[in-house]
Amino acid sequence: MRFQEYEAKEIFKEFGIPVPEGIVINSDSEIIPAIEKIGIPAILKAQVLVGGRGKAGGIRVVENLEEAVEACREIFNKKIKGYHVKELLIEKKLEILTELYCGITINRTLGRPVIMVSSEGGINIEETAEKNPNKIFTLYCDPLVDIYPFQIVNLVKNLGLKGDVLLKVSQIIGKLLQIFNKYNGIIVEVNPLVITNNKQVLCLDAVIQIDDSALFRYPEFQEKKFNQMDYSLQRLEKKGATYVQLEGNIGLICSGAGLAMATMDTIKSFPGLSPANFLETGGSITPELMEDCMEIVLERNVLKGIFINIYGGINPIHEGAKGIARVIKDRELEIPIVAKALGNKQEETWEILEKAGVYTYKKSDTHGAINYLAEILHLEVKG
């Protein structure tokens, strides 16, 4: 789960981490009172859940009201890396001496949290990391042992900081680590972490992404996350499935993310076919989950056909088949559906699907199954 910058900054504040004063607005009409409260010069920041919005024009410094109104309209009308801007954070522009970087994430191979700091904070941090990796200092955490404040001071010393600023930066990083640990973080990042001309240390940006699998520990976030989704996606997520809408013409239901990706690769290799979605059922297939999968796939009305690629390992595919059959019957579907369903209870599954009018492909090669679908589509087009 990702948080908007202003939401992350709210969490920072709860932990006593200093952030600039800010106001969030949802519409043009709020910009003037916001600027009047915050003062000039101010920064307008698009609230979108992707990195690199600065380079994409999502951040603007304004020196007067007219400029603010204009910039505000421009940003609200922008799409940033495909995201509409629905909220804008207005903050006072500060006099900045130094921009640092601090990020906490997980090294997947080692299976350890890693704290990264650099004195080269700002929008070019990835470039710095690539060209001057020695400017990034890291502290790997042992998941079985607490990190103590002195270890963070030792890490931050590498940035050449002294006195009060050394302590303030170390304390902030200690608190970022607390957030990372308390909320099962995937990423907690501040870029830039700035030192102002009066030696204040503040987080100008704030990134928090937490582990969806740990959301049961934070019912308040779980609810928030579900509230951000539309209803059909919510139902799927609650049952452990994952859906991503794409631009193609073949609806897809797969059990397993790897299989889904391989299936998408294969579909794309057929001229004229492309996946309309990514859908991974997870390991808890029931008739109801399968109904929900069918419903969400059918929400896209550009489909030429549906391809179902499921295995009966942990999943009772014969149960899932009942859900598919029910949707076909209830909605009197006529769209061609090819299912490749193998593993435990495959015969039972085939029987149910065939009765419902689904074309079943009984061998294991996905390529052959999609070829079968292509043939059917071709026939249909002909007929």
């Binding site: 997947r108 191979t109 690539e130 990034i136 998941p143 699998s213 299989l259 794309k268 294991s364």
Partner: protein
């Protein structure tokens, strides 16, 4: 021969009384696996398909010799259950459970390492020795005995690749799913090492996917230490990459993680990489003949 598992391996099932635990225990027993005991706290004294159930792993290990524990427990108790197995002296563990919090996985991984235990998973489908036995959820009708070792980060892709090999008459020595969670208890390299030492295995098929740097590490291992030919496939080459948040992920991965990085690195290590699933049987056949 096979790696990690054979028909004499004495298996404990943690979470044996749940729906999935029960069903899969039945499948395991039918596949030839020696399931000697089960554990579900609060259900001590019951039996599941003739297998005695205990409240704690310690009671199970006090009563039976256990070589391997396979877990079908809820995600929120996965960490506790894995550590219980390790603390009770079991040093091979497969965690089938999906949606385990990654911070819990990191603790389990560190704990297993500290105690020299092998933790496969979370979200592993398990291990199958075709024609002999299995632990986990792999449907055995997808597999057939032979000389190809399969290591896969994806569960269902492992089934698919094995079944496709069977279609052309190529069987498998051992098939093992690693689980594709953000952090895996055991990485690809550790299993490659085992296949490298296994006499029965002539060729290894490595099925990776985008994300992380396990495939890149595997490439380095194959280049430097592997005596057997390896065929690889990376799922997700044509999948649009998700929007990244922040920079931390990019910095920590240092350019690894994409399908392109993985495929290039594997190619450079002398591994034949199948660009599509259906190329795998052909490539394996070439190597075996």
């Amino acid at each position: 021969m096979s790696i990690l598992l054979n028909k004499d391996t004495k298996v404990l099932v943690q979470g044996i009384t749940g729906n999935i635990g029960k069903t899969q225990t039945e499948y395991m027993i039918k596949s030839g696996t020696k399931v000697v005991a089960g554990v579900t706290p609060g259900k001590g004294g019951e039996k599941v398909f003739g297998v005695p159930v205990f409240d704690t792993v310690l009671e199970a290990t006090n009563n039976y010799e256990i070589d391997f524990s396979v877990l079908f427990v809820p995600a929120r108790v996965a960490k506790d259950s894995v550590i219980e197995a390790i603390e009770s002296g079991i040093n091979k563990i497969a965690l089938i459970t999906e949606h385990t919090p990654v911070h819990d996985t990191m603790v389990m991984k560190a704990y297993a390492k500290k105690h020299n235990a092998l933790l496969i998973g979370p979200t592993t489908p398990g291990i199958v020795v075709p024609g002999e036995c299995k632990i986990g959820i792999l449907p055995i009708n997808m597999f057939c005995p032979g000389n190809v070792g399969i290591i896969s980060r994806s569960g269902t892709l492992a089934y698919e690749v094995a079944a496709n090999l069977c279609l052309v008459g190529i069987g498998q020595s051992t098939v093992i799913g690693m689980g594709a969670d953000m952090v895996a208890g055991t990485n690809l390299v550790e299993i490659l090492e085992l296949f490298n030492l296994d006499n029965e295995t002539k060729v290894v098929v490595l099925i990776g996917e985008v994300g992380g740097s396990q495939e890149e590490d595997a490439a380095a291992f194959i280049k430097n230490k592997m005596d057997k030919p390896v065929i690889a496939y990376i799922a997700g080459a044509s999948v649009p990459s998700g929007q990244r948040m922040g920079h931390a992920g990019a910095i920590v991965e240092g350019g690894k993680g994409s399908a392109k990085s993985k495929i290039d690195t594997l190619n450079n290590a002398g591994v034949k990489v199948a660009m599509m699933l259906n190329e795998i049987p052909l490539l394996v056949k070439e190597l075996l003949s």
